[in-house]
Symmetry: C2
Subunit: 359 residues, 2 copies
């Protein structure tokens, strides 16, 4: 028997290209620094990872944006680097500079020394946070789980930090591709475990963030990023209690490869703002749902400008099913929360006209 | 009567899609920090702009890569920010951080206070450098002149420095588009003067670098970047002494807009490495030449890997005219010069098979 899903199931229906009464909306990084109530919780803990590792606090900040805005989904508050951290690389955050690993992966020997983390043990705080949030949500809206893509995680693991030119990992890619393939295969296996644990704990949908796939050439993207995401999609359980768990693949800068991304086994493709929704729909909208794609910079503009941009994007997608409104990347810390509200309200008010009455 | 062009005219012929014996090759930032002889000259002057402002030194570093590698073009050594500098913004370079403007453009009033620089006066060192290089080249290879696109220059002028999220200029774009249009129109006019002066001084071809156009949404790219490049192309003299001066438009991250870029009035489109040459050729190769597009990161790999990648790119473009081999972005300071040589040599050795005997 099918267990009951969330009462507001617009997101899940849209991801499966089923009819909805209006376009569902959520925001990447909707739980974050632009919210004063988030900053208040963040100040209570010594560092960012403590926030991720404390299920009650992760739950609290996950729910904060839902109290302010009429959002159609919650997304687990966590970080994509939890998995490399559990592999023993020594994650820490340098204020103003972002993540750093104490022991980056630089050689084949470094790769061979890594292990596949057990999510029930080394990453237990993540499924625990999912369970806590799921309980607190009490079926109001779906909960999205997530992970970074193998390639994206590998960039941080090899570079040891954020990078602009990916010198070290591309050096490995071209000079020792076998070592990189071993690392990516281990990450893919680990992510199947990790995302599987999130599903089991109550995640209703998943997103894989391939933040840095767009820095690759086409053949390198296929071989070192997309193939490993496809492997995850192939091995991941895609149902819980008889309900489909839809998966969104988001490759920032992946506009050239939409057809291939859509064929990788996902339910929906996340789009950054460099591509028109209408164009993307014409290319792959018959196979997958589309999520996106407002430039987060628009949220710094006046509310009437934000509303116009929401209207333009809804018009670009056009009538019918299969659209989840979102930003094309995460909301930035300098956005006034009222501007986020203007976006969410505009989607709620302007989108019903693009949907027929739900049957 | 047509004045004689350069003896090696492969670049100019390829840009006009005429037959060549082999694919011409040059590298973005081929005169630069990866060369020890460049660093030696750079150390003789107090700052980077002095190098740009001293025609004899700019000429010397322009010619350096031609002494090492079998390149088919020289490119003027200069900086895209010379024009905003001449507008009085106070350009300086902070070591390790890049360019800064003392007086960034933040308001409509700031825009209105700017003037259109006279290239014969405030920028006289640039045409003077072109004349010097042209004389020293003595007709061996063509000399490429260049400028930044209006949008790209405006990003530095408004942000005051390099940016990751372009918060200020996108704020202006969405909240005060008229002010930004005034700035872009002034830049387009100034760039017509500036590029015109380079043609007059001896540039044989031009490239417009739209480094940051790819950070825009499609309608914003059209209205705030491409339209102003098209305006420049429309107003610029396109001939000197009866010879066509081909212009290359390069929008990094512009893969979604190739058809529109090709229709903007350029002779060639520069490509970053995110798009396949063969795909780009199928889309726009009947209208323009293509330049690119090896990932500069490949130059860190072993010479045999570099050679394989050159072979792959030549195969992707396929047989026939209209290809200029280049990187998809500038060469980085950490590349061993022998690796650049491996790329240039591979193009020379592997490309003739893709061209019929020149008639």
């Amino acid at each position: 028997m099918k267990a009951p899903g969330p009462r507001n199931d617009r997101l899940l229906r849209a991801l499966l290209r089923q009819p909805v009464d209006r376009t569902p909306v959520w925001m990447m990084r909707q739980a974050g620094r632009y919210l004063p109530e988030y900053r208040e919780v963040r100040e209570r803990v010594p560092d960012f990872m403590t926030l991720c590792r404390t299920p009650e606090l992760a739950c609290e900040v996950t729910l904060q944006p839902l109290r302010r805005f009429d959002l159609d989904a919650a997304i687990l508050f966590s970080d994509i680097l939890t998995v490399p951290d559990a592999m023993g690389l020594g994650l820490h955050f340098v204020p103003g500079e972002g993540p750093r690993f104490e022991r980056p992966v630089r050689s084949r020997a470094d790769v061979d020394a890594l292990h596949r983390p057990d999510p029930a043990r080394e990453l237990a705080y993540v499924p625990e946070a999912v369970r806590t949030i799921h309980r607190e949500l009490d079926g109001r809206v779906p909960l999205i789980g997530f992970a970074g893509s193998p390639w994206t995680l590998a960039t941080y693991m090899v570079e040891g930090r954020s990078s602009r030119d990916f010198a070290r990992i591309k050096g490995m890619l071209y000079d020792d591709p076998d070592a990189l393939h071993r690392l990516l295969a281990l990450l893919a296996d680990s992510l199947v475990d990790y995302l599987g644990a999130q599903i089991e704990a109550g995640a209703d949908a998943l997103q894989i963030f391939d933040t840095w796939g767009g820095t690759l050439s086409t053949p390198a993207y296929r071989a070192f990023s997309l193939d490993y995401m496809a492997r995850i999609l192939d091995r991941l359980p895609r149902e819980r209690d008889g309900r489909r768990i839809p998966v969104i693949l988001f490759t920032k800068g992946g506009g050239a490869w939409l057809e291939e991304i859509a064929a990788a086994g996902c339910d929906a493709v996340g789009l950054d703002w460099s591509i028109e929704l209408g164009t993307a729909r014409a290319r792959i909208g018959d196979r997958v749902a589309l999520q996106g794609n407002m430039d987060p910079a628009v949220l710094r503009a006046r509310p009437d400008v934000i509303r116009d941009e929401v209207a333009r994007l809804l018009r670009s997608y056009g009538a019918g099913n299969g659209h989840v409104f979102n930003l094309g990347h995460g909301i930035t810390p300098d956005v006034p929360p009222e501007h986020a509200a203007a976006m969410v309200d505009a989607v709620r008010e302007l989108s019903p006209g693009w949907h027929r009455a739900r049957t």
